[in-house]
Symmetry: C2
Subunit: 364 residues, 2 copies
């Protein structure tokens, strides 16, 4: 994302707004950056390459993979703040105290210009593109892409996507001025930013066709689809464009659409949780409460029926004391099953019921 940061930006792409700024001439004491996403990794990578000390401030809940990757590039990692905005304040203070140059992840024309190179590469690779869908956190990425693409192909639609938990750009565009979103958690940690950048806002207002929000379940579903169909690991923020394409009426049927999958730094524990939630949504993982008479052999009967229907038992829990619908002399087992879909679940439930068991499907 920082491919052009520090270089003189290409005048052909750069708006008057940031002409006056010159690249920093003396970064020798080091740089400091705050990051919710992959900016921290980019700064760590390039600082190592250039032999400059780097301090990266990440929110306390930052994915371990982002922390570990930045550390691998020799950066000093500071975990501070409950969210990106707090981490950013901390980074600015730290920069002042230690005399480090602060590299903003999105509200810096040079960073935006660097991110714009993605738009140029995209046009080279797909000159026939009709629309580009881009994740939006602080807005730097979409601003850079919009400036680059609109300069060359004004007809291309630029669409932004935010998590509905943190719709800072949507609120700002609606209000006509930058508006902070309330603090919230989202699986799209890379775009979990409460206030968009001033430069990004000015560009987005003018050049972005539409900004939509997507729900957490839609983000999780998009991560799962990318794993299953594209065989690609994409983080929540990076999957936002696919979530929007699948779940929002964007009027792009038949169009050549480019989705910017902006990162793959997702903790595998999160991948594992997303898979499980996705399987439940898809009826491929189901939890059934089954009431048995509390005597030897009752469970064996249930297990046999499950086996005949070729569902796979993942977990069994047995709860006599706390089940709310069990009479004395009955017992409840809770079966977690891998299934092939809704038809198999319904067949299994009706077979269990025909065999005299009471069955209740549990919803998460």
């Amino acid at each position: 994302m920082l491919r052009q940061a520090g270089k003189s930006p290409d005048d052909g792409l750069v708006q008057g707004a940031w002409r006056g700024e010159s690249p920093d001439a003396a970064p020798a004491r080091g740089v400091v950056a705050a990051s919710a996403g992959n900016h921290g990794l980019a700064v760590a990578f390039h600082a190592e390459r250039l032999g400059i000390p780097a301090v990266i401030v990440m929110p306390e809940w930052a994915p371990l993979i982002k922390v570990a990757s930045a550390r691998r590039h020799g950066a000093e990692i500071v975990l501070a703040g409950a969210d990106f905005d707090e981490a950013c304040e901390h980074a600015i203070r730290l920069g002042d105290e230690r005399g480090l140059t602060f590299v903003h992840p999105f509200d810096d024309p040079r960073v935006i210009a660097g991110q714009g190179t993605l738009g140029l590469e995209l046009l080279e690779q797909r000159p026939d593109v009709d629309a580009v869908i881009v994740p939006v956190g602080g807005g730097g990425l979409i601003a850079g892409i919009a400036v680059a693409i609109k300069a060359r192909r004004p007809a291309v639609k630029i669409v932004g996507v935010q998590s509905e938990k943190l719709p800072a750009m949507v609120k700002s565009v609606a209000a006509g001025r930058r508006t902070r979103a309330a603090a919230a958690a989202t699986i799209a940690d890379g775009i979990a930013v409460r206030e968009v950048g001033a430069h990004a806002f000015a560009i987005a207002r003018e050049m972005v066709h539409e900004i939509v929000t997507v729900a957490e379940e839609e983000l999780a579903n998009a991560v799962l689809r990318l794993l299953e169909i594209e065989k690609t690991v994409v983080e929540g923020a990076g999957a936002a464009p696919l979530a929007a394409l699948l779940h929002r009426p964007l009027g792009l049927r038949g169009a050549t659409v480019v989705l910017v999958l902006s990162g793959g730094n997702i903790d595998v524990t999160m991948v594992s949780r997303i898979i499980e939630r996705g399987l439940v949504q898809d009826d491929r993982l189901v939890r059934l409460g089954v009431i048995l008479r509390d005597r030897p052999g009752a469970l064996a009967g249930v297990a046999a029926l499950v086996a005949e229907e070729r569902a796979n038992i993942v977990q069994i829990e047995h709860d006599r004391a706390f089940s709310h619908w069990v009479a004395i002399g009955e017992t409840e087992v809770e079966l977690t099953l891998e299934t092939s879909g809704r038809p198999q679940i319904e067949r299994l439930k009706s077979r269990l019921e025909s065999a005299g068991y009471r069955v209740e499907e549990r919803r998460p």
Copy 2:
């Protein structure tokens, strides 16, 4: 994998052994194939493209994703047999009964020639390759790659990898004749084959430099590394080359090595399980049994210590009746925690012990 099946094989590559065979002239009644791996998908795909009916026989435990993908291409799917070898016998019988042309997944010179095109592409893309590591089930893929590469660049080392659960090629090469492996389950379902092909064996004996086996944990670990570092979903069989490179002394230090990642059709439920096993191996998921005095506030004390050490509680189980090391008046909780690694686990254990709790780490 079937890119050249049905075409006349390139004479420059083909050994005398299969000169006599001619492409089948009349597949109009349809084809039948047995597959543990991606052969079934390839046959279904090309049958659909050519407008030929296809029946694919897969073992009963075949990954759902392979079943569903083959079905999506319009093939009739038959689940039969406890393993590939049984499915294959079933497919041959079915072909006889219905007059369908049987397309063998590996023991057919035309299929081997088609798989050899992978070797040609590989040489085009990396003319500097020193060694190629290839998963081995029935042996067709490595035979095709070996014939193609050795014809052009005899110095390139061809290395094969099998699951240690099903080392049919290793045993056959050692015995000097084809030798069946015992039936076994492996996460590398795509190479779960008990007997290698006659053609493949003849070629492998002559052209393959070395064949190694890898353990199930090593396969799981390789799948996890590919997810985390390469952001790529690879099935167990496809991850075997990386497992061999990481865990076996292949004498390839400094060499340019190509790993053939031969498939990504792994059920996401399996991905989720592999992630969890991998996390336990890496000390990033740990289960601790902790003995508390059975009184209010005891659990809160444990939870506070865990929180101070910044470990994340994933699951808590409480077991008074069945714990083997608990006295009357004590209670045991079992905590499953996400951790950053061994140092954090040891710190947490020693803090809990200093605070007067007994702690036992559970191994899977």
